[in-house]
């Protein structure tokens, strides 16, 4: 085998600390090296031409490039090799820049290391085998996880492009948090008025299969070929028969046992309930934990009320499998739990604010419900404790957010805006009311956002006080809010009738669990990581899995919608061809040597290992061996290291190649 070695100076980036000519000279002496040269910019056009010419003149079979990290220019040099007629997998990169010249100062030792790095690459390339790319088919269907506004938007975009969508929502209805909101900033249009048409469209779209009250159990496979297992939880209502008349709901004798999570705990709901009037699908669900039937086998009022016999107490959870080519994760957020938390909790609550202890200290979503025309107070601002109209409300921003001491250092981004909106709504509804907002900074970056906040201050006379509140306590039915105006430098104590805490957006508790099922990384809070913060904001690091909305970071509605459309278009791009090309770095089993212990199968994270029977002359199975599905294998190589008889090899990183690298040390 004739090997060419090409050492790049990278301008002066490498040659400043590595004596490139000497490296090239020394490496020429390595057995097998036919040709060796150094050049100022190997990745430039003349540099690539130099490689091509050398291949032609010296009849090279393989090349080693000593340059920057393979993550930078491996692709460049591989295409140069292809242009010169060499298999792209007979190219090895010695990382002389990031791993050598940039991190060392002494020329002698850096040069020595560079030589050794090149020698390792030469030894590896000697054992490299030509490989060709693997083609895998694409299933043109998308799984959207989460039916909030982001999931709805993504599902509609993909479906309207002509592809099938499976939309999975864990609650009984789609709509997400947006359906709970009263009015939206900065336009103050009614949230449900703009959302419900979309929800209905999802339900009626022929290409969207809507699975509510369902959760993703696991996802196997890889880009273009995922297999999602979905658990459809038992509603105890036959969805095919139910007409959504609501008779069962009104007859249910359980009135005051369960709080409505849609109403954020401000109202009760029966055991059989539809979360909210505009729910999609408009089908009730029975809550086993409070239903009398499940507790003592009696009652059955709902059965009597239903003239279509849609109640099915025996309904069980069902599992279904969906083959999809791409996944859009749009699982959204929850609010920071502001009350006192148990000792040792990840996030420490605000004992000083008394949320949970005082009924009229509420969080942002609770206020949305109170202000919403469809809410428990029909849109009239009333205190949860006694139903009286509060005349003085204090809004506190940054509760949970920008508070590393409580566990979260990020800015929750939307609270400045929604607090301004809520204060404004209060002033519109209670004309003689006074609203105070304690803030640290007002972050109103966005179209018409700053103007909106100014309007709250200038037109609606909301009192903005710069300072964080230290403590809230109850005295004679009033809530004493102890603050400080840090601009005037004076203490401010307000006796409020109600306090609204603008609590931070945090990921759902089970966000890490879902991430592990889907196979995507997440940050320390549980927000899902994008592949690149600037250039790949909607891709996860797992190919074929895209992110939309607040599962990635705190986002408001327009941003979530934009992100959802972006994620949808990424999926649609993926579906534009019928098959995908994949790197041929996959594992193969030597069936003759395989002892059939199937440790490989146990360790494979992708379920790529299948069982293959080896039969004798009589057709009797005498041995079972492992077989690796080339389409499913992602090439991690965990099986190769686990295999006791060393019967599995990972193409591109086989044991012989690695041994050669070690031997070259």
């Amino acid at each position: 085998m004739k090997i060419g070695v090409f050492i790049c100076h990278c301008g002066e980036n490498i040659s400043r600390t590595v004596d490139c000519p000497r490296v090239a000279e020394t490496c020429e002496k390595i057995p097998g090296v036919e040709f060796s040269i150094d050049y100022k910019y190997m990745c430039s056009d003349p540099g690539q031409k130099l490689i091509k010419d050398a291949v032609e003149i010296h009849k090279l079979d393989a090349i080693v490039v000593g340059s920057c990290s393979p993550n930078m220019h491996e692709r460049t040099f591989r295409s140069a090799a292809v242009a010169a007629g060499i298999n792209p997998f007979l190219v090895e990169i010695a990382n002389l820049r990031e791993h050598c010249s940039w991190v060392h100062e002494d020329v002698e030792s850096a040069t020595q290391k560079a030589i050794e790095l090149v020698r390792m690459a030469v030894e590896k390339v000697k054992r490299d085998k030509p490989l060709s790319k693997i083609k895998v088919p694409v299933t043109k269907r998308v799984l959207v996880i989460g039916g909030g506004i982001a999931g709805i938007q993504a599902a509609l975009d993909v479906a309207n492009a002509g592809y099938d969508v499976v939309l999975v929502e864990k609650e009984p209805s789609i709509g997400g948090h947006m359906s709970q909101l009263s009015e939206t900033f900065p336009t103050l249009d009614c949230s449900q008025c703009i959302l419900t048409p979309r929800m209905v469209e999802v339900n009626q779209h022929p290409r969207i299969k809507l699975l509510t009250y369902s959760e993703v159990e696991k996802i196997e496979g890889f880009i273009g070929n995922f297999k999602a297992t979905i658990r459809k939880k038992a509603r105890h209502i036959n969805e095919d028969i139910c007409s959504g008349c609501g008779q069962c709901v009104s007859k249910c004798p359980i009135k005051k046992k369960a709080f409505s999570s849609f109403e954020e705990g401000l109202a009760y709901r029966p055991a059989v309930y539809i979360p909210f009037p505009q729910a999609v699908p408009n089908i009730p669900v029975i809550d086993e934990s409070v239903c009398t039937y499940y507790r003592n086998g009696k009652c059955g009022m709902c059965v009597k009320a239903c003239d279509r016999q849609a109640i099915d107490f025996d309904q069980k959870d069902t599992m279904m499998v969906a083959d999809v080519g791409a996944v859009i994760v749009a699982t959204g957020y929850k609010l920071y739990s502001i009350g006192k938390q148990p000792l040792g909790s990840k996030y420490k609550g605000y004992g000083e604010y008394g949320y949970g202890k005082y009924k009229d200290v509420i969080d942002g979503l609770q206020f949305e419900r109170i202000a919403s025309a469809s809410g428990p107070t029909s849109g009239e601002i009333k205190r949860p404790s006694d139903g009286k109209e509060p005349k003085k409300i204090v809004f506190i921003q940054c509760v949970g957010s920008r508070d590393p001491a409580k566990g979260i250092s990020y800015c929750s981004k939307i609270c400045c805006m929604y607090t301004a909106k809520q204060a404004m709504l209060f002033r519109h509804k209670v004309h003689d009311g006074e609203a105070y907002v304690f803030y640290m900074d007002i972050r109103a970056g966005g179209k018409m956002y700053e103007e909106f906040v100014r309007r709250a201050i200038e037109e609606d006379h909301v009192n903005y006080i710069r300072g964080r509140v230290s403590r809230i306590y109850e005295e004679n039915g009033k809530y004493i809010v102890k603050g400080e105006d840090t601009i005037a430098g004076v203490p401010v104590n307000i006796d409020a009738d109600m306090v609204v805490l603008a609590s931070a957006m945090i990921p759902h508790d089970n966000a890490p669990g879902l991430a592990q099922k889907v196979g995507i990384p997440y940050d320390k809070y549980g927000f899902y990581n994008e592949s690149h913060p600037k250039l790949k904001p909607v891709e996860s690091t797992t190919a074929g899995v895209f992110l939309a909305g607040a599962c990635n970071a705190p986002r408001d509605i327009p941003e979530s919608v934009a992100m959802a459309s972006a994620a949808a278009s990424k999926a649609i791009i993926l579906f534009s061809s019928d098959s995908l090309e994949r790197e041929p770095v996959v594992a193969r089993v030597n069936e003759d040597l395989c002892a059939g212990c199937f440790y490989c199968r146990k360790v494979c994270p992708f379920g790529a290992v299948e069982v293959r029977d080896i039969k004798d002359m009589n057709g009797v199975v005498y041995k079972e061996v492992a077989y690796i599905n080339q389409g499913v294998c992602q090439g991690c190589g965990t099986c190769t290291a686990t295999c006791l008889s060393k019967s599995i090899e990972l193409a591109g990183f086989n044991n012989e190649e690695i041994f050669a690298e070690i031997a070259a040390l």
Binding site: K340, L343, K348, Y350, G351, E352, K357, Y473, E474, E475
Partner: protein, 297 residues
């Protein structure tokens, strides 16, 4: 009755030998009854108190560490510091020396000795809540029903949160648990962790009287008939300063202030003079129900 053999080191603190004499009396009585052996550190010295850390943090570290060093040398693994301020000085110094080797080195040089810094420190609540869980209930001879106690933690018993892993710093409930075990009722009130002015007791009496008055008024407003404290400074400010309040505010309503140990002591059957309750400025009158109980017993 109690598991014998619970032995702890005991760091009294200066007040215990003077203005808070009754705190020590009651603590030792109660501990003895519950089978907890408190071994006073031999030749302990002042922890430095506020004055040291307020003006000279190296001095503060050295004074506090000297006592922990003595405990180490005398084989006492756990120290009970009944005074909340002493407790705070000890845990703060311990943490600083743990987190900052340079501080530890400095302290060791000042003391001319090496310190392993492993002594664990308990306050009075820890002692009764954690170290001898359930002992009070079983040994109770008097039901303190009829007392409506306002548990006053003050500032240093449950702070700083990073060094207190036994209770919440904002809504603590460990003292309430102990008080309930004596049979007394607890009231929900607002000033449980507000400061009484502490070290300004002498130098800025005006502040202390203001702050303490607010605390007392809030306790009264929420229906308390006794305030329970676990710190000699809190006691001084809340008990002794009521005399000044009476002079300044003629409408001032008095409320007795008991040490936590005194309350436990009463429920364990000790008399008021055994516990030193008669040394308080504001007289504590036992509610009739409890008196009757005692008569029957």
């Amino acid at each position: 009755m109690a598991d014998a053999g619970l032995t702890y080191g005991y760091f009294p603190g200066c007040s215990q030998k003077g203005s808070a004499r009754e705190y020590e009396m009651s603590l030792l009585k109660v501990a003895g009854k519950l089978g907890i052996d408190l071994k006073e550190i031999d030749d302990w010295s002042c922890c430095g108190a506020t004055s040291a850390h307020a003006t000279n943090h190296r001095l503060a570290n050295a004074l506090a560490m000297r006592n922990m060093l003595l405990a180490e040398q005398q084989g006492l693994e756990t120290l009970v510091a009944p005074c909340a301020a002493c407790f705070n000085r000890l845990i703060t110094t311990k943490a600083e020396c743990r987190n900052h080797p340079e501080s530890k080195k400095d302290v060791e040089e000042l003391l001319s000795a090496s310190v392993s810094n492993t002594t664990s420190i308990l306050n009075v609540i820890d002692l009764f809540d954690k170290a001898s869980n359930g002992l009070i209930g079983s040994g109770r001879v008097r039901d303190m029903k009829g007392l409506k106690a306002a548990c006053y933690y003050g500032c240093l018993l449950v702070r700083p949160p990073e060094l207190i892993d036994t209770d919440d710093s904002e809504q603590p409930d460990s003292m309430e648990r102990i008080v309930k075990a004596t049979g007394a009722d607890v009231v929900e009130w607002n000033y449980r962790t507000e400061c009484c002015g502490a070290a300004h007791s002498i130098s800025r009496r005006d502040i202390v009287v203001d702050l303490s008055k607010r605390i007392i008024d809030d306790a009264l407003m929420h229906g308390a008939n006794v305030i329970i404290v676990a710190c000699p400074m809190c006691h001084t400010n809340l008990d002794m300063r009521q005399r000044v309040m009476r002079r300044m505010y003629p409408s001032h309503k008095e409320i007795p202030v008991l040490y936590l140990t005194e309350l436990i002591g009463l429920s364990l059957g000790f008399t008021e003079s055994e516990l030193g309750i008669d040394l308080h400025y504001i007289r504590f009158n036992m509610p009739n129900e409890i008196m009757n109980q005692t008569a029957q017993a």
